[in-house]
Symmetry: C2
Subunit: 347 residues, 2 copies
DNA sequence: GGCCATCCTGTAATCGATTGCCTTGGGCGT
DNA sequence: ACGCCCAAGGCAATCGATTACAGGATGGCC
């Protein structure tokens, strides 16, 4: 009858050590200064019974779970794992764990996870998903549990946001291309309505304007933030005779799709056309030519999100004012960009 | 004083509805048949207070958390997210959630997560990581909580395993190449000691033997299951003058590295050399030429792992005998394989 | 020797739910 | 009109930890 019913409890330990549960708890927490024989007996009993305190019971009593919820748009998008890993690292370091939810592009799932995490009484939430309705943002911002939003910008809701500086990032991309002599360019946008879509084109356009390139000269195409969208957009561009020397894309996956379309059309990159992506996922350096891209500091963002949450927890009631933090993006030059050709594609 | 201290509890609801907590609990659980006015009052109170039962308290009382732990080798490896997503889908469908841990190639972290999940009293664990020491496997197999191991095969430990049929898979790969006329081939192995490494080479070799290709004719190279290893192994092969018409790789990332080395050497794929990978990650179809590969049924495996866990939970004490399930791998022909050239590389 | 401060440890309440058992009361049969 | 039975719902124990408070032993000091 050693383990009649599940793992050993604090009472089993107390009994075996011949002390009260209070003492066991105190010895393990290292408070008070127990006599050596007492703590010795407790530790021996702990060892013998292979006792591990139940986080469930502790959470109930302490009213905190030492858990943060993290909701991402889609765990299969290579952007997120790095964010998740960084958040997990930072959390683990201070004794927290991460409960992950992948919305898989589905608003209902996102809401489901919001509820789930509320039910689980997580101590804080990181929401890295734009699959969240207006109404849910409001609910989140009014919730008593600390929330940090990553890479989304709910309009008119006072809430802490950590986001890549998309506008500045794509401005950098444009400047890089313009510096290489490109003036006739195309931009493949992301999925309509995705948060980053708007600021990215705008940043790109702004740099063009500054360089004196007429708005009308920039060809805007619609992608879907996936491989297929990039491939389709660019092959349509080519078949409709669009004559550009550079293509910028909403993200790397789109850019990789673009590379494939160009290759299918026997157009050389970067000799004939330069391509630039955005995000810097691992595959960006695997493709040929390796993709020049604007890197998001995913790991930093994950770490910052957790740190922010911890700060909010400390400040409890002190009230940290919601703030929008823009993390710079950095230009990563690889092989897919080069000097603009002078003539047309056919030359 | 609406919410003096955190979320509403069942007692708040009971008070407001003028009933006991027992009744609230029963109404919400849908047991007994409460009078309409009672259940009406309860539901109204629930609504008004925005009451959500605490999963923490419930877990303590019910002695189950409705949570499964899932430990993966490295969430940044594109193989895992799909597994995670599938497991999460299957779990969510029956009211469970997944607590994720990424060992990040570190044995200590893997053990840390094992402990963490034990403390959290998860109802079952899926271990998709070979970063687990012999001793931990034994501990797991003796643990009273159901465990399913994915893509690892602890030796001499009675435990339920779900794994891709690596041997048969790579046999298929070899047969595909041999069918295309290849006889002088190279195989880039994975990281030494990684579980899948051995069976994969063996499967490949077995098919070669069956086709009458002398063992000595197969050139074996050591990679690291990453991009860099594939690239390095193949460029060394080329510079040492190895003359092959096909290269099989431990996994897709390695194969993508191989493609890059071949390209750098101006060797055409598949015209000069065919390349085949293994896993079928998303990037396999992004690269040029798109990679022929042996696909692992990642989603199936994730789903099966959860189903297995649920079955073990049902069978409680009935005792399901540990069993090793081999999931077939399927050949995915894309562009990187073709008929063998007749002459040498230089011809 | 007596008194008080100090140090350890035990007692019991508490966190928020679920559930076995018991009470209450209404309906129905005779 | 009386008694029986059953349905509805309340009481209180329980899950496994933490912690405020109380109490007993010990030692120091006068």
């Amino acid at each position: 009858m050693s383990d009649r019913s599940g793992p050993a409890t604090i009472r089993d330990v107390a009994r075996r050590a011949g002390v009260s549960t209070a003492t066991v708890s105190r010895v393990l927490a290292g408070i008070g200064n127990p006599k050596v024989e007492t703590s010795g007996a407790v530790l021996a009993a702990v060892e013998a019974l292979d006792y591990r305190p139940s986080a469930v019971a502790r959470s109930l009593r302490m009213r905190r779970t030492n858990t943060f919820g993290l909701i991402v748009t889609d765990i299969q998008n290579p952007f997120f794992p790095e964010l998740v890993q960084a958040a997990d690292d930072a959390a683990r370091k201070v004794g927290y764990s991460i409960l992950l939810g992948s919305a898989a592009f589905d608003e209902h799932r996102a809401v489901h996870y919001l509820d789930l995490m509320a039910d689980r009484r997580v101590d804080g939430m990181i929401v890295a998903s734009s699959q969240v309705a207006e109404e849910s943002w409001r609910w989140l911002s009014e919730s008593p549990v600390p929330v940090v939003v990553v890479n989304a910008e709910p309009a008119n809701v006072p809430i802490t946001v950590i986001t890549s500086d998309n506008r500045a990032g794509l401005r950098t991309a444009a400047e890089h291309l313009i510096g290489l002599g490109h003036r006739r360019m195309a931009y493949v946008r992301g999925l309509e309505g995705i948060t980053a879509d708007q600021p990215r084109v705008e940043g790109f356009r702004a740099a063009c304007r500054d360089a004196g390139i007429p708005d009308a000269d920039l060809i805007e195409l619609r992608g879907d933030a996936q491989f297929a969208g990039g491939e389709r957009a660019v092959s349509e561009l080519l078949s409709s005779g669009g004559d550009v020397t550079a293509i910028a894309c909403h993200n790397d996956i789109t850019a990789i799709g673009a590379l494939r379309a160009l290759r299918a059309a026997r157009i050389r990159v970067p000799a004939d056309i330069s391509v630039v992506g955005c995000d810097d996922i691992a595959a960006a350096s695997w493709v040929v030519p390796a993709l020049t891209t604007i890197a998001q500091q995913k790991a930093d963002m994950g770490r910052m999100a957790v740190e922010r949450l911890l700060a909010m927890l400390d400040a409890r009631e002190g009230g940290i004012v919601p703030e929008t933090i823009r993390v710079p993006m950095v230009l990563q030059v690889r092989e897919s960009t080069g000097p603009a050709r002078l003539g047309g594609i056919g030359s």
